[in-house]
């Protein structure tokens, strides 16, 4: 595979930027922050204050290797390998710092990764994704990479090397809540998208067939899209609350003015536009000659729709579904404000308690979930998208 983008001896431009930023982060920003308890302001520690010189030097050695690779090595595979090794070293080092700073048995002190850590992680992550992009992997390989990262991350959590870090401390305290909110989060995101797909595809087909409906429908859905999420949650609380009060059966179903019902409904409404619009665009993209030939050969209208039009439009429709799934995974976080649950619970609790670690406990899995779904659905879209379609 030809992956060379830089000539021998030339300096890689992205590598130069990443190296500069990384060095600056290492020198100027705190790598690790120590707090005597959860809400006290932190106190920055440099690595040499925390870890024995051998570990510090090994870590710096790996970072220097990463910098040199980023600057001067053209092979994307090598760049990826070095970036991943450096990420692993970063994880081990921050874990070791957590261990070193936490007195045995003490559950009160908090050791958090400092801004220096996050910037370094960002630089190495960019170096790795850039290398993957240069490798131009097929959809299958990308899913394989995703699975590999998931396994590695899972192994890192399971091994306990990160257990003394503040985020993991928060997790330990909230472990059962975390599993529950994760289920809520996924249920609300997937449920709203599924419901939207079931409604939006027929609406899209109708808009395609009846051009007069198109502008009005897309305009109305567009209008919904412009309402901010919190406002929409609020607006929906009123009718749903009234409905629950008036019809006891509805309340028995768990539908109330607050909670999951308005959240899922709002997310459902947000999801309609991208799926309807993409269905219309996907169907419009099907060549009229293809449909004419199909009809001329004696396919029924239903056969033309299911065997020809929807199959040909499917990659575009799936792109719409990918957009709303990733969007909803993010928006569900806000739904915690109206008591709907999800990872947003930790985010808002954390904000209220000025406990940034708790915010991270909600934010990091949300990002990971959205990212994973994006990679999976992108791979799916690409694998069904033949060059002809």
């Amino acid at each position: 595979m030809k992956t060379t983008t830089a000539r021998r001896g030339a300096i890689d431009r992205l590598g130069a930027v990443l190296t500069l930023v990384g060095v600056a982060a290492l020198v100027c920003l705190p790598f690790v922050v120590f707090k005597a308890n959860r809400i006290l302001p932190g106190d920055a520690r440099s690595l040499s204050q925390v870890l024995p010189p051998v570990k510090v030097l090994t870590f710096y050695g790996i970072l220097i290797l990463a910098g040199v690779t980023a600057l001067g090595i053209a092979s994307a595979r090598l760049r990826l390998a070095v970036a991943l090794v450096a990420v692993a070293a970063l994880a081990l080092t921050i874990g070791a710092a957590g261990d070193a700073l936490t007195p045995i048995g003490n559950k009160v002190v908090r050791v958090s990764p400092g801004t220096g850590f996050w910037v370094l992680l960002l630089c190495l992550g960019l170096m790795a994704t850039d290398a993957i992009t240069r490798l131009r992997p097929g959809p299958g390989v990308r899913v394989l990479f995703l699975g590999l990262f998931a396994v590695l991350a899972g192994a890192a959590f399971a091994s306990g090397i990160l257990d003394h870090l503040s985020v993991m401390r928060e997790y330990e305290v909230n472990a059962s809540r975390f599993a529950l909110e994760a289920r809520h989060h996924i249920f609300m995101a997937l449920g709203s998208v599924t419901a939207a797909v079931i409604v939006a595809i027929p609406v899209g087909i109708l808009c395609h067939r009846v051009p007069r409906l198109r502008a009005g429908t897309l305009g109305a859905l567009n209008l919904i899209q412009t309402v901010p999420s919190i406002a929409l949650f609020g607006i929906l609380m009123v009718p749903l609350g009234a409905l629950a009060a008036a019809v006891p059966f509805v309340t028995e179903l768990g539908i109330r003015g607050i909670g999951a019902a308005p959240a899922v409904l709002a997310l459902f409404l947000y999801s309609l536009l991208p799926v309807v619009a993409n269905t219309v665009v996907g169907l419009a993209r099907v060549s009229p000659a293809t449909v004419d030939a199909a009809r001329g050969m004696g396919l029924t209208n239903l056969q033309i729709l299911t065997n020809i039009e929807l199959v040909l439009a499917f990659p575009v429709i799936l792109t719409g579904i990918r957009i709303v799934l990733v969007q909803n995974i993010g928006l569900v976080t806000v739904a915690a404000l109206i008591g709907a649950g999800g990872f947003g619970v930790f985010v808002f609790q954390g904000i209220n308690q000025t406990a940034i670690d708790l915010v991270l406990l909600g934010a990091l899995p949300t990002v990971a979930l959205a990212f994973s779904c994006a990679v999976l659905l992108d791979a799916l879209v690409e694998s069904i998208n033949r060059p002809s379609l």
Binding site: S287, T290, A293, G296, M297, G298, L299, S388
Partner: protein, 311 residues
């Protein structure tokens, strides 16, 4: 046989096809020619009810086309269009098998038919059956489009500008192939084109349409020698009408008996080509030979020229 009686299509107040009555003989090629907007495509599409007539009737082999649901009617009629309309997500073999599958043919029969058609259209089944339309050249796509239209052995084949997207050389080849296939299967072909040369080349009979009406429906030679009105003279062109007329007769049909000398011309060649050969070689006569190279007769310059005169 296709009988079209008083067929009319109106969209609002506009009459697109106006009381057209023509009878198309079984096993012939009929070409409907006209400018864009003349109603020729609409007329064609009313035969398989892609367009429902406002008035009039169509009968195929005596059976009214409205006697069965349109999708069942269409499965018995081949349909090929400009830009081929192949299904981009289906392989060549799957595309050709479309109508046999709709008709419930078993897999073995369908596969045998697909392979037969691919061979007839000079596409090696081993190489082409599994390919997708985007992997084919324009000419190959067009051939697959016609093969697909013929898959279920229809008695009638409707073609709407089927060669419109092809370059001139491939187009000529496709026209030759169509004539050969029509002879092989005896299919009744109705073809729409705006190209008068294509109409003359392919049509046993040509229907000239303008503003929804058929102005003249006749053998090509009659359009040249006895045009019904000035529009048809303009359409056929008067500048080279003698040459056009010569191109409608083959050397084999015009050959005279007797010992021959001069350059050899194929019996299948048109008189226009024979004349060109005589002018080029300076010879006063040519030897007409059949496909085996056996002399079949002779053609003198005067004999050829006589065919270029009306009457």
């Amino acid at each position: 046989m296709i009988e079209i009686e008083n067929l009319t299509k109106q969209y609002g107040s506009a009459t697109v096809v106006d009381r057209v009555s023509i009878t198309i003989a079984k096993g012939s090629i009929t070409v409907i020619v006209g400018t864009s907007g003349s109603g020729k495509s609409t007329l064609l599409r009313m035969i398989n009810r892609l367009v429902e007539p406002s008035a009039g009737r169509v009968a195929i082999d005596g059976k009214d086309t409205t006697s069965e649901p349109p999708h069942l009617l269409r499965r018995g009629i081949g349909y090929a269009i400009q830009g081929h309309g192949l299904f981009p997500h289906r392989s060549v073999a799957e595309n050709i098998a479309t109508v046999p599958r709709l008709l419930g043919w078993n897999a073995a029969r369908t596969r045998a038919r697909v392979e037969e058609l691919l061979r007839i259209f000079q596409l090696d089944p081993g190489e082409f059956a599994g390919k997708f339309p985007y992997e084919l050249s324009g000419g190959q796509q067009q051939r697959v489009g016609v093969a697909r239209a013929l898959a279920a052995e229809p008695a009638v084949l409707l073609m709407d500008e089927p060669f419109g997207a092809l370059d001139p050389i491939i187009r000529t080849k496709a026209q030759d192939d169509l004539i050969e296939i029509q002879r092989r299967f005896g299919t009744t072909i109705v073809l729409v084109t705006h190209d008068i040369d294509e109409a003359f080349r392919l049509g046993d009979r040509v229907a000239v349409m303008s503003q929804g009406q058929v102005l003249q429906y006749d053998r090509p030679a009659m359009l040249l020698t006895h045009p019904a009105d000035a529009f048809i003279s303009r359409l056929t062109g008067t500048g080279d009408r003698a040459m056009k007329l010569l191109s409608l007769t083959t050397a084999g049909a015009a050959a005279e008996a007797g010992a021959a000398s001069g350059p050899k011309v194929a019996a299948a060649a048109t008189l226009r080509e024979v004349l060109s050969e005589l002018v080029w070689s300076g010879a006063p006569e040519a030897t007409v030979v059949d496909a085996d190279g056996m002399a079949r007769g002779r053609l003198t310059l005067a004999g050829v020229l006589a065919h270029g005169k009306p009457g």
